[in-house]
Amino acid sequence: MAVDEKNAPRRGAQQDRIDRRSRNRNWRRHHVLMARQSWSRLFATPLPTLITLAVLAIALALPGFLLTGLKNVQQLSEGWDHEPRISLYLSPAMDDAAADRFSRELLLRDDLAAVDLISRAQGLLEFRELSRFGNIVDLLDENPLPAVITVQPLDRSLVALPVLKAKLQALVEVDEAVLDLEWLQRLSAFVQLTQRAVLVLGLLLGLAVVLVVGNTIRLSIESRRDEIIVAKLVGGTDAWVRRPFLYTGAWYGLLGAALAWCLIQFSLLTLKEPVAELARLYLSDFEPMGLGLSGSLILLLTSLMLGWLGAWLAVGHHLRQIEPS
């Protein structure tokens, strides 16, 4: 058999040394190669890949969407938090002049920022306009509504407000004092509860992402069994064998997140008009927020890590079982 003299080893027993620099270069090259190969492998079987990605996207979009919604509600309630009001329902016996006098007295107090009187007639007019019971009011002989004074406290802290409310309630002219903050407090408690629920849901769905990617990688490991065995036989390290699978997992995570991002943005888009309509009805200039740059980045990075983690768990578990025999 012809032996190429130039390329023939002088002595087969001498193994060549590879210097550290070229080994490092080769290590980087292998990373790039594996990243590319695992990318193109994903699309070698487009349908199963797409189904997996769709599952991942839904699992990621749900908490992402809910968190964005919550963020909006929080922003909304924060906006309201800044203007707590106390409504003072005056005793029905008081006439308009007395109510007006009382509101002027209130103006002199140093713990109120603003005082706003809604006279009995004004109240009836608003009631007629805003409710459907206007014609019922017509049946009544006289105006059943009391005059109302809404005041804006100077001290807006949650401790001071109930104290002020109690003080105002104690005044003889006041029939009942209602702190508008109460429903806001309830709302914020509700938001907190929902937040916790979404967090738990997010954790569960994150786990689902890890498991879905893990299972996909497990199948991929099974189908590449021969390759793994040969690599191990010729001296491939665990890291070397693991690498393509870790990249596959990371790609799944990243692509799943990208798809989830589209789903979330699309859902928000469909909600945009009804929300704007609702805001208009409340005379608010509320503008709903999307995921934003940081939200999008968090979504992508979290998902990338989850995909990588799923692959890492699957590979760690199965690669030990595949040994040449």
């Binding site: 390329n7 023939a8 087969g12 027993a13 060549d16 590879i18 070229s22 270069r25 191990k232 001296g235």
Partner: protein, 223 residues
Amino acid sequence: MALISFENVSKRYLSGQEALSNVSFTLREGEMAFLTGHSGAGKSTLLRMIMLMERPSQGQVVVGEQNLAQLGRRELPYHRRRIGVVFQNHHLLFDRTVFENIALPLQICGYEPEDAARRVRAALNKVGLLDKENQSPISLSSGEQQRVGIARAIVHKPRVLLADEPTGNLDPELSEEIMKLFQQFNRVGTTVLIASHDLSLIERMRHRTLVLRNGRLIADGRG
């Protein structure tokens, strides 16, 4: 200098079956030897111990200056890089070309691609398959496939070349050709150990022959 040495090596499986019992021998650097015996005599087990695919129940195996009992899971790949192995079923990957199959050990060891390509072609040249580098191994005859397996085993110039029934599927003529190939590698300094039950072929080759029977080494001498 002893390159491979077995000292009172025994291998007992959990089932109680004894694959090797009290085997001792040394193989000097640059030596070529055959390992023979009926199937189940322990030939494969012995080769697998050199590859660290199995560990002895008793005794120790030393390759180079390295006592294999001291090698952990992490060092195992680096140990295997010093050894080339040829299998009866050659373990080729059919989803890549002949060239890529042979380049795999070099890629794993960290050779530069140009350097690797040069070495792959040199190895292909030695086994006479230079014109087949872009083909899939599946399109080759079984003799050619075995030669691709050999090229892959020697491409990174291992100190030791092991072969487990490398001619098991081949006709006598091809078998002799493969054995001559092993002799060539041995001539340039590679230590070669071949497990085979083809006694007539072994006799013709006139190399040291180790005979196993029921896990015991019963003969060690010139064929």
